[in-house]
Amino acid sequence: MEITEELIDYLQKLGRIRLSEEDRQKTMKDLGSIMGYIDKLNELDTTGVEPLSHVFGRTNVVREDEVTNGDMRDKIIGNAARKSEETILVPRTFD
């Protein structure tokens, strides 16, 4: 698997990440060697094997939707980088 400049651009876009030029060059090299090793998985014969997500085969677990938390509003808003007294602030999202 070749790691191209275009692929790095695409992955930056998907991950909302912007790398410095130096990090970008290193990432191309590192992802190249990691993917080279990961491609070893192609040698494994998985014909007819069902993909497994949960080891115990648990499916949906449901519970009553009851409110158990107390009022945490101030604590929650307190963690936002931009806030007013009453709410979290975000940059303008439309004109």
Partner: protein, 493 residues
Amino acid sequence: MDSKEILKLTALELGKAIKEKKTTSKEATKAYLDAIASLDGKYNSYITVRAEDALKDAEAIDEKIASGELKGGFAGVPVAVKDNMCTDGILTTCGSKMLGNFIPPYDATAVRKIKEEGMVILGKTNMDEFAMGSTTETSFFGPTVNPWGDNRVPGGSSGGSAASVAARLAPISLGSDTGGSIRQPASFCGITGLKPTYGKVSRYGLVAFGSSLDQIGPMGRDVLDVAYMLNVISGEDPKDQSSADAPKLDLEAIKNFDLNGKTIGLPDQYFAEGMDEDVRNAVMEAVKLFESNGAKVETFPMPIMDYAIPTYYIICCAEACSNLSRYDGIKYGYAPDDVEDLMELYIRSRSEGFGMEVKRRIMLGNFVLSSGYYDAYYNKALQAKALIKKAFDEAFEKYDVVIGPVAPTAALKAGESLSDPLKMYLGDICTVLINIVGVPAISVPCGFTSQNLPVGMQIIGKHFDEQTILGFTYAFQKLTADKAYEQQTAEGI
């Protein structure tokens, strides 16, 4: 009781001494805080130390012990908590600049349970950023140093939880394990660390990394401490739908565990080329000891192990990139203050808030999940997971436990694997399979290398059969009491 005596006690012994009024929670907490103040400048095992608050908590707990409200074996005992578990009102950084200011508004379930037991949280321990790493060198708050000296890493990602216990800066700690993050640092630091069965301990309030793999577990100097701690933190939790109700451990049965007739499987691949000679010898010596005490030992092939690393890194990065998409610089976490465009805020918050290893795994995860590659990588890894589970199911039809090393080497020199991520990933070869299958495994000190670095043996059990692996571990600790691997600490502390 003087503080030197306090630091020597196991967590259960300390709990007992407090109950018998030989010391108090406050005195014990102070002894540990003093030790941290004098030594942690060197080890950097804590990110946050709760100097005054811990003493206040201890005082309140002493009153509750006196009134009979708190009766547990760990009531009054101090504890260190890895900094990826939410603690109400206490900074929880996950070793990242991204969460450098994050103060959780609630407790993780495991944290709530140790508080209910009456334990005193000394502080939050250092870790690889977002638990991504095997050396505790990717922490934004600087690397943790292995107390065994010689410029060695403590392992990771729970390196702070391991080093703090090894250096006697905490009697016991909580870590988390996604691909070996409890077991490998336990091995590197010469302590005992247990990764419970997936679902045994609630993940509610654990900062998510690989949700199908993450599990909280205890790290201590003594196997009974570790067993008791699992009883404190385990149990089904309505707030984590993957948690399960399983019986508590019977500590008396662990103490009386009989090795006679028990079966041990040794996978060939765990002892193959590439494993350090000293590590292999130490583990084989331990296995021989089990054999000479009545256990039956057999080797068996486990060729699927060759695919452990690719399968693990595909699954964990896929889950990590999804989990870490929540960091947008808005609700919580780092955000630059000079941005007026929403997309730019996302990009700059993430680019400036995450370190390189985290970015690398986000990119890898997005790659294996992206259109056109999903089948070739992610789906293929889930098929490999099915085959890995089958291999373990077959092994556990024949054996009570499977034993191997925890890592191919003892603790590495600082900086050795940081420059080459693939090299670091390959060091996880002995531990990642266990998370993929969800079975429990423990790392217990079993000897030393020629350079006097601790070596850990890994004992792997069936789903929800922690009882058996702790039985083996206790038996080993008893058989090697004269060597007391788990009680030796660096620099004669």
